[in-house]
């Protein structure tokens, strides 16, 4: 098994190297060759192992049971989300999330039923990477983590804290200290397969939509994280930086962008742009350099 995986990794590395070296470099992704190799590895691992397992899982288990599994893990996530919302200073959301955990852990039979949502307590997803983002920590370069996929330097650090803080692992440590490692492995496995099964339709779409899955996923990742950190509030760059961005474009290419609204630039990962890239003269970098604080305050 190990040797198989090593061979797989080596093949992926070679494939990754073969497809890079040309084209435009994204300033957010200085480790692109390595990231592409890991991405290829993840795709192979998904195609050969996780996806088939998730498909069988989705086929064998009836919908209500899968919803129960999703809700069970969701309830555990809610507890950590509540803590993160507290750390981010969103007291109202935090109370809502603790309320969810209370309702679903008791009336929801340990979380397998989600009574809180129909009661009007909306589900949120917060992790420590988002908390760091709210605190003003820039995302840093793009990182593709083996098996787990797209991340950034900041979010990888957040991910480590997430794993350490994960409520289930603490419960297991307390409930069954002797077998806690086996329990942990089982829970991680089921959680992973369940999550993958929930994503099957989405990854099919991705496969269809993307010309180059790697850059498509990377762009989507930065936008999604940006959106999560600002909780969906539309981020519009301050007028001054937007103008300078337009000037940059105009100087670069004499592009007059007829009728282009400011909104079109809102999707650009301004805050998440690399500090490393500052000074390279790319629009993203110059914007990030001039306005990171204002962006965070919004």
């Amino acid at each position: 098994m190990t040797r198989g995986l090593t061979a797989l990794a080596a093949a992926a590395l070679l494939a990754g190297c073969a497809t890079t070296g040309t084209g435009a470099r994204d300033p957010r992704d200085p480790f692109e060759p390595v990231n592409r190799a890991v991405f290829e590895f993840n795709e192979v691992a998904d195609r050969t192992v996780f996806r088939p397992v998730a498909e069988v899982y989705a086929k064998v288990l009836p919908e209500p049971i899968r919803t129960g599994v999703t809700s069970f893990f969701g309830n555990l996530n809610d507890a950590w989300t509540a803590a993160n919302n507290l750390l981010q200073g969103k007291l109202g959301d935090s109370i809502n999330d603790f309320g969810r955990v209370f309702v679903n852990s008791t009336f929801g039979l340990g979380g397998i039923l989600d009574w809180a949502t129909p009661m009007g307590m909306e589900k949120h997803n917060e992790d420590f990477g988002q908390t760091l983002g709210v605190w003003g920590v820039p995302s840093g370069p793009y990182v593709v983590i083996p098996i787990f996929g797209p991340s950034s330097v900041r979010d990888t650090a957040g991910f480590v804290v997430d794993i350490y803080a994960y409520p289930l692992f603490w419960i297991l440590r307390w409930a069954d200290p002797v077998h806690r490692v086996s329990w942990r492995n089982i829970a991680t496995g089921v959680g992973f397969v369940n999550a993958r099964a929930n994503n099957l339709a989405a990854t099919d779409l991705l496969e269809q939509a993307a010309l180059d899955r790697y850059s498509y996923v990377r762009s989507a990742f930065f936008q999604r994280r940006q959106n999560q950190i600002f909780d969906g509030a539309p981020f519009v760059a301050p007028a001054s930086s937007r103008d300078s961005f337009r000037r940059t474009l105009a100087a670069d290419d004499e592009w007059d962008a007829p009728g282009l609204p400011g909104r079109a630039f809102a999707g650009l990962p301004v805050v998440d742009a690399l500090p490393v890239a500052a000074g390279t003269g790319t629009p993203d970098a110059s914007m990030a350099e001039s306005q990171p604080q204002a962006a965070i305050v919004q």
């Binding site: 969701g74 099919d204 989507a220 592009w255 909104r263």
Partner: protein
């Protein structure tokens, strides 16, 4: 009676035309109508992509501004393209998006859609916000960026969970243009469409 109705229709019709459908009403009406058809059509249920695509072409397509979407996805490279190249780009990008959108509709047909109150940016700009509601999971927001062009509102970007369709393509498009020029991008798009067409049912 029938004559009376005809007279009534004649009188009211011009009024109805002059009244522009508000963007949120437009999105809601079209989504509801299309999803209703998808949920009922036996051929679509059996997985006919072509049938779904025909439906999307007829019902959804007229409300999208593909020219603008393509220009936004291209960014500065749009100006490098000749009018013929631009026409080809719009055509290929439209085909790709129609296919993806059709698959998305079929895949998520049983999800519940909620619409949020409309927020107008100004007289001719609006973002229509909706959500896919799924049990036990955080709702997935779907935002339609719309612009009033002439007598109707048209969609020029769709963001799912904060991920804008146009922005997501921009990175790839830029890389493709840098590598193989505008023609390289046209080729990649048409290759992709051909490959999807070949595997479609």
């Amino acid at each position: 009676m029938r004559r009376l109705l005809a007279l009534f229709a004649l009188l009211v019709a011009p009024l109805a035309v002059a009244d522009i459908t508000p963007p949120d009403v437009l999105v809601k009406t079209v989504s509801t109508e299309v999803l209703d058809i998808i949920r009922k059509d036996p051929e679509i249920q059996r997985g006919s992509t072509r049938k779904t695509m025909a439906l999307v072409e007829a019902k959804v397509l007229p409300h999208f501004d593909f020219q603008r979407m393509t220009a936004l996805a291209m960014g500065p490279s749009w100006r490098k393209a000749s009018p013929e190249q631009q026409a080809q780009l719009v055509d290929q990008f439209r085909t790709l998006l129609v296919r993806t959108y059709s698959s998305a509709l079929v895949a998520y047909r049983d999800q519940k859609l909620d619409f949020k109150p409309l927020r107008m940016q100004n007289d001719s700009e609006a973002v229509v916000k909706s959500e896919i509601v799924q049990p036990g999971q955080q709702p997935v927001p779907i935002d339609y960026s719309m612009e009033k062009s002439g007598e109707s509102w048209k969609v020029y970007d769709v963001a799912v969970g904060g991920v804008s369709l146009v922005t997501t393509y921009r990175d790839t498009f830029n890389a493709e243009v840098k590598q193989g020029g505008v023609d390289g991008l046209i080729k990649s798009l048409s290759d992709k469409n051909r490959q999807l067409e070949a595997s479609a049912r």
